[in-house]
């Protein structure tokens, strides 16, 4: 089923947080309420106001008004490196549990790559938690090179 992609609106927020929480790592990190903590709305407004952020909602064609089947956040990063190249970073990729394994992720990443090209990015980058073995196979299968180690320091 082909997906359509659009920029998220404030009305999508509960569904997007539900997608973030419906995940082996996200389940312990999010708070669905109700009420949904105000921090989500504040973060949404910050993202929406930033021209270098694109919070994406994926929907199935022919199912308007239905819940989003996927989401991801694209960030377009300026930098001096590589002769002033822009990079596209993908974070917070989620597909609704009942829709997994149907090739929707491939369509989502293809959309991200298309957006990155349209904005003149030199590469697309992302990190995937060590425990997401299925995701590692998925990204390798799409031609991503496993070139880096990703570090985090919790504050």
């Amino acid at each position: 089923m082909p997906l359509t992609f659009r920029r998220a609106t404030a009305e999508d927020l509960p569904a997007l947080v539900a997608l973030l929480a419906d995940d082996m790592l996200g389940a312990a990190r999010e708070d669905l309420g109700p009420p949904l903590p105000a921090a989500y709305a504040l973060a949404f407004e910050t993202i929406a106001a930033d021209a270098n952020q694109l919070l994406v909602v994926a929907e199935e064609e022919g199912a308007p008004g239905g819940a989003p089947v996927g989401t991801m956040q694209l960030t377009f990063l300026p930098g001096l490196s590589r002769q002033g190249a822009w990079r596209c970073q993908i974070e917070a990729v989620r597909i609704a549990a009942p829709e997994r394994g149907r090739g929707l992720g491939r369509q989502m990443i293809a959309f991200a790559v298309e957006e990155a090209r349209a904005r003149g990015c030199a590469h697309v980058q992302l990190t995937s938690h060590n425990d997401r073995k299925d995701a590692h196979r998925f990204y390798a299968g799409l031609g991503f090179e496993q070139s880096h180690i990703g570090y985090k320091l919790i504050l």
Copy 2:
């Protein structure tokens, strides 16, 4: 020797590009000119105009007017994940070759962590190329968790 840190200015650009190029991976990616390709100045302006970007110059105290001894780019990223948490991303970390091995990197990362805390970030994240074995020991020694795999797709 204690470092001082400040936001980069356009006058720093040639020195910063020279630092980026003085690196096992950066050497093949950058073009020092002269003239310095205009793409660097354009990238610098974009970074400088973005409140969520902080291009850092590190200098040795007592050596004003000297060349920068280090640089890094901090990006402050809004997101819905983790209840709308901000993240601080570190990229393009360089220390001048003659100054390496003296503990300056530790001061630079400490500054990044301080900035991240001041802006309310929940964590600091970075990736390091698989081949940078010294860097891996360095970040692990600073308490960074090697929790992710970093992928890149060159466009």
